[in-house]
Structures are given as C-alpha cells and as structure tokens.
C-alpha cells in the first residue's frame, strides 16, 4: 500500500503570535515551525498501516525552509521519502490553491492508495484541504477519522468517523481514498536518534509550480478563492470579572464571589 501523508508547517503552539503591519498575517520571520499537531496523528496512522500491510509512506509538504524541516521530522519518524513543494509562487495559498497543488504533486508521483491529512491545521484550522484534495483526485474520502482498517486485499477500507455528541459511525470505502485524521486516534511516536540519522539518507524531492505543470495564476495567492482582508484579535464582549492579587488572595476572592454574588456554593 502506498500512503502519502500531508504535513503542514505551523508556528510552534508555544509561540507568541504578533499581527504584521498590513494586518494580513502574523509576523512569521522569527518563529519556529513544527508540523501541525493533527498531521502527526495522520503520519503515525500511515506508519502503522505500512507496518501491518507493507508498502511505503511518503510525506508531502508545501512551503519554504519550514516545510523542509517538517518533512525531515516526518522522515525521522519513519516515512520512506519526502516531496517538498517549494516555490515563491506557492506563497499566500488558501485551502483551494493548496489542495490543487498537493493533488497535482500526488498525481505526478504516480498517485497513492491512501492520502492522509490532519483533520484541521493549527493555523487556519478549517479542515478543508484534505477533502478538497479528494475532489481534485476524484477519490473517495472520509473526514474526522478515529479508526482505520484496511482489507486484506488492500482494495477497501473500513473507517470510523467521530460525529458530534459522542456518536461514532463506521463507513466502508474503496481505495484510492483520502482520510482526514482526528486528534487522539493514536499516540504519535517520537523520532529516535537512529531515525534522525537514517532520515538524512532518504530520498527528498523538491518540486516547483512549473514541475507540477501549474501556471502562476493557479497557485498560491493568485490561485486563491478568497483574500485576507484583515487579521485581528476579537474584542472581549464578556464582562468577565478578573480577580487579582496573589494566588491565595485570588482564590479567597473567588470563593467569596461564588458564595455571596453568584450564590452557587
């Protein structure tokens, strides 16, 4: 089974995010980038499927040096090879133009039985890109996946989707398929030292928009379906009452408020 696992570089969740001068994105020059958390769950699932059914796992990412770094972390976790979509023209992509470039790369690499992506990214967080890829690849798909089982002949899948209110549904779909993987489906492994060393010798392809046969107007910001008008920190509408002082003073004030004002104790 050939599995392609998509990895999106996002600012380290511990970063302090500052809005840029044009208010169209964050200042990202000095930030550390890591793989979006849900993508690590996707890659772990890909590696487990390979361990069970054989085949290969390819990691795929789009972006600058931060994408290369994330791909190297994927190789260190155990992926067999990497594809890096690197081109200044890819910058400013929305989900639509990102998904179309990723899908083209998958086709150029000869397609895949299974494409995995995190359910949503830690930056835009829309959960659209994986499903749009399925449309561009004309594949079956399933979202919010919390369990994957491939049939013995490697032709079909049984996957469990997590719905609202603690309900799970099991669906059957044929391959090729695209799955978006939910947080918590597994415990992603850490890269071992041996894995990190081995990663350096693995195949690492770098493709531009031209390599994918995509014109400049179809990729990145030019190929996007919407533009970012403004990024802002939403105003606090609530009337939260902040309790200050030392931890002990704040705790004492809270108990007082809960008993006398809110009357819930």
């Amino acid at each position: 089974m050939k599995i392609i696992s998509c990895m999106k570089p996002v600012p380290d969740p511990a970063s302090r995010l500052i809005i840029n001068e044009t208010k169209t994105w964050i200042k990202d020059q000095d930030l550390t980038f890591v793989a979006s958390e849900a993508d690590n769950y996707a890659l772990e699932e890909a590696l487990r499927l390979k361990e069970k059914h054989g085949g290969e796992v390819v990691v795929l990412s789009m972006g600058g040096e931060e994408a290369a770094r994330v791909l190297r972390s994927g190789l260190a976790m155990g992926a067999d090879r990497a594809i890096h979509l690197l081109d200044a023209k890819f910058k400013g992509a929305d989900e639509f133009s990102a998904a179309s470039a990723l899908a083209k790369a998958i086709q150029k690499d000869g397609g895949a039985d299974l494409v995995l992506a995190g359910v949503q990214s830690d930056d835009l967080g829309t959960g659209m890109t994986g499903t749009m890829m399925a449309e561009f690849l004309a594949s079956a798909h399933a979202t919010v996946v919390v369990g994957v089982e491939a049939s013995g002949d490697g032709k079909s899948l049984k996957v469990r989707r997590e719905l609202e209110g603690g309900i799970n549904e099991t669906v059957e779909l044929g391959m090729p398929a695209v799955l978006t993987i939910q947080f918590g489906i597994n415990q992603p492994r850490y890269a071992s030292l041996k894995g990190i060393m081995a990663a350096k010798k693995k195949e690492f392809k770098v493709w531009s928009a031209a390599d994918l046969g995509l014109p400049a107007e179809a990729v990145g910001k030019a190929g996007a379906m919407y533009e970012v008008k403004e990024i802002f920190i939403p105003e606090k509408k609530s009337k939260v009452e902040m309790l200050g002082g030392t931890a002990e003073e704040a705790a004492a004030a809270l108990v007082e408020k809960l008993r006398k004002e809110a009357k819930v104790l």
Binding site: D122, G165, E169, V171, Y226, K229, K237, V240, A251
Partner: protein, 323 residues
Amino acid sequence: MIFVVAEHKDARIKPITIELLVFAQRLSRDFGQPITAVVLGSGIGPLVDDLKTKKIDRVMVAEHQDLAEYNPDSYVAVLKSVLEGEKPFVVLIGHTTQGMDFAPRLAASMRHPLIAGCVEYEKQGDRLILSRQIFNAKMNMKTGLRGEPPYFATASPGAFPADEVESGGNAEVVKISAQPAASRRKLVERVEAPKGKADLSSAPIIVSGGRGLKQKENFNLIFDLADAIGGSVGASRPVVDAEWLPREYQVGSSGQTVSPKLYIAVGISGAIQHLVGMQTSRCIVAINKDAEAPIFKIAHYGIVDDLFKVVPALTKILKDLKP
C-alpha cells in the same frame, strides 16, 4: 437568493439548522435577498412542515430512498445540480462533521469560494465580508470573496443564536427530482459511545482540566478541587487525546454537552469545540495563565495566574470551609 442546507436527524431539524436560518435571516435583511432552505432525505415530511413555518421564502425538498442516510457523493451531486440551476448569492452549511464532510468537495467541484467556520459577517458597500476564527480562536480573519457567486460558508455552531430565529412564514414547498450519485462510501453502522460513570449531564458543579495541567499526574489537582467543592470532573479534548483520562470525561462538541450551575475551567484555553459544550453553564470560572485565552470571553470570573498555585489554594480554602 440565500440557500440554507438543512441538517437533520431522525426526521427532526438539528439545532445548527436553526442557527443557519438566523444567519440567513440577517443576510436577507442586509442584502435584500430571499431565503430558500434545501432538505435532502427520505421520510422528511414532518421536518419540511416545521421548516416552512420559519420566516423563509421557499423549501426545496429532494426526497429519495437513497438519501435516507447522509452520503457525501449524493449530497454533492444533488446540491450541485440544484445550485447550478438556481445560481444563488450565498449557500450556508453547518460547520459540523456532516457539513464539513461535503462542503469542501462541493465548493471545489464548482470552483467557488468556501469560507469555513464563519462566526460573523459585515456588509462593505454591496460586498459580503465573512469572518472566521484562526489560530484556535486566538484571532479572527476577515475574508474578501473572489469571483462570482455562489459563495459557500459554513457557520460555527453557537455563532448565530438560535433563539433569534423569526417564525411566522408560510414558505412555498417545491419538490425537486434528486439523482443521487453512485456512492463511493457506504454506511456500516452508527453507535453512541457509552457515557459510563462520567455522565456529566446532570452534575450541578463541574471542574474541568485542560492541557495547562501539563501531565497526567497533575490531574490529581482537579480531582482534589472537585472533591472539596462537591463537583464532578470533566476534561478538554487534548487531555483525553493524551490518554490522561478516558474519552467519557470529555466536554465539548465531540464529547458531552453540559450546563451545570458552576463550571470551573482550569488550564483550558477555550477552543470553540470546548465552548459549545459548556457555554450555557450558569456561572463559569476560568483559571489560566494566558490572559488572552478565549475562555475568558465567556467566563464570569477569571484568574490569570499559575494554576499550580491557584488550584491548591482554592482547594484548601474550600476544605477549611467544610464543617
């Protein structure tokens, strides 16, 4: 025309559909456009009767036995043929596990914009600017739509208050011939996760812990506080994902929805998925070291400090109060 794709279950409209109607009714006032609700399914007569009493103009009904269970391929095929004929201005869909399962495919196949997880909008001139949350609700983004309508939007649950919905309509009901697609995906079964001993639905006081607790062992602080205050224990999604606690403790859109008289959120930043599961609690307390955490927007009392200092102090005071 403003289109609303109705989401339903067991022949009843789901709450998100009412929220979508509120979104549509606001847009209708601002842009002077009529509203159509589209329902796909089988045996959906009762919910069509319910929908047409809302203040909307038309209900389009695609009834077919193959639509009895939701399927993305059929939804995309049926909606695409309807929308290509109708050329609406906006198409509103729930930002739910169902809505987000087909909306991206539908929008991509028609090559029109989709803004997912909308929380508000504004009218600039005659243009529609949709806003959504980014970076796990720390920031908002206003988007400008490119190209021609239709524009697709999924609405975040809880963003458009259902109690604002206007009724008193007498919408025209139009049957449409549905041609469901050959499906690449088949439903096998649907099961409800057991609630077990952590059924929080009737708990009067809940103390919930989040990622801010750093590791499993530290969750003892939450159990101690719950014990001292006479409450039950809940958790945010990352805690359950990290297997610090079983899934049955999870509060939020994919876990339990709770509404106690007192909800204490400790080390929980307040992702929208968590907030929709507890925002109707009577009194909400947030303890978090990050003053910008979204949880403070819905909290009544907040303490911005190190939870490892505040929680033990709180537990001690409450224990001392006990006779």
